[in-house]
Symmetry: C2
Subunit: 211 residues, 2 copies
DNA sequence: TCTGTTTTTTACCATTTGGTCAAGGCACGA
DNA sequence: TCGTGCCTTGACCAAATGGTAAAAAACAGA
């Protein structure tokens, strides 16, 4: 067995293997994000993927392997905006770009957001290593970057760590708590309002005036 | 069977009944908040409560009834701060008090926060009615209150609905994503930092200067 | 077409889990 | 002391669920 959660050797995957693995992972994203790990069943995933359960177990070593593979595959996508933070624009614009990118991800990738939210909520039992090895260094690096901007007075004095977490909280909330939002606020122009709102929240925070 | 999720008549509960129901609900809060509804088992709840599984089913009609009873019992506690919003202080102080109360709840009641987060994340299958009948009217009322403050220039112009949701997002994030926070930021003085941070985030937003 | 390999399915299995039942304690008033 | 009614439990059950085995089917190369 290979190390990436597949029952097949990773080398030289055929067209059909690639296609079926993708279909399984997409179906699994549907089911895991909607019901959490324990709440999801292989039968649900199989049905969503249009395959039989044993066939799914032909491509993956088991339920847990699918979940781990999914988290691993999506981790990079998920943290890509943070990785890009500060690569191009000047500080204030860079942070606003990051915030917009995160909000856009909540809009276009709510399943991914909920997948990670479920995992973290329940203590990150299968993602602890990923967090430690991939997110932590990146997080520390960007916090240092932000602290640099603060110390050179390019942005207002903010707590870098908590500021980043606040960005996550606000933007991901739109995906993770969608069920609640749907019952509380009207759907029309929802995302345009959200966008204006986060601008109104974060942009003034960054102005180096109230130092 | 009674309507509140108990297998016993609600009238005239004995001392021991009250005590055991409380013990069961507390154990259930532990387990449901940590694993979600599907992830929790009656055996886990029974062990945590120090009772046998059939005994638990003597007090409640089933797993789902426990969950519903729990949500119902905690709903009022959970929305109490919102209910109190604007009852005493002037607008800006009232909102800051609310924010502080919510942050304090994340610190002292993380289990409750995660219980609700789990439920909402998975589409609020068992809480839809509660949301609609209890939270929605209160939410609308407080939004109107905030809009009034905005229109009379007592606070800065903000989107009332999204502002409240942002408060929830930021404060509850500290409880719901604790596992992630623990791996990313140092634990010492954590809550003091969080408190200073939310002050720095929200207080400037309310100053009616940038109109 | 023949042959070996990959893919898919049918039939099954073992465990977990929500829930039931009938019998056994246990407190308390008569 | 004896019932009587509330409380508790051991034994059990049926369904759901993760997973397996082996054979059938599809496919690729010669």
């Amino acid at each position: 067995m290979a190390a990436d959660g597949t029952a097949l050797p990773a080398k030289g995957r055929s067209r059909i293997q690639e296609r079926n693995r993708t279909r399984i992972l997409d179906a699994a994203l549907d089911v895991f994000s909607a019901h959490g790990f324990r709440g999801a069943t292989l039968d649900q995933i199989a049905e969503r993927a249009g395959m039989s359960k044993p066939n799914i177990l032909y491509y993956f070593d088991g339920k847990e392997a699918i979940h781990v593979a999914l988290l691993g595959a999506l981790m990079e996508t998920w943290i890509a905006p943070l990785r890009a933070l500060g690569q191009t624009a000047e500080p204030k614009a860079a942070l606003m770009d990051y915030i917009h990118a995160k909000l856009e991800m909540s809009r276009t990738m709510p399943r991914e957001s909920r997948l990670f939210a479920n995992e973290i909520l329940q203590g990150a039992p299968r993602m602890g290593p990923h967090l430690e090895s991939e997110l932590k260094p990146l997080f520390d690096e960007k916090c240092a970057l932000i602290r640099g901007w603060v110390s050179t007075r390019r942005i207002a004095p903010i707590d870098a760590e908590h500021f980043l977490m606040t960005i996550w909280a606000v933007t991901q909330h739109y995906a993770d708590f969608e069920a609640q939002i749907d019952t509380l606020v009207p759907r029309d122009a929802h995302w345009a309002r959200a966008r204006r709102h986060v601008d109104a929240v974060f942009a003034p925070m960054l102005e180096p005036g109230a130092d």
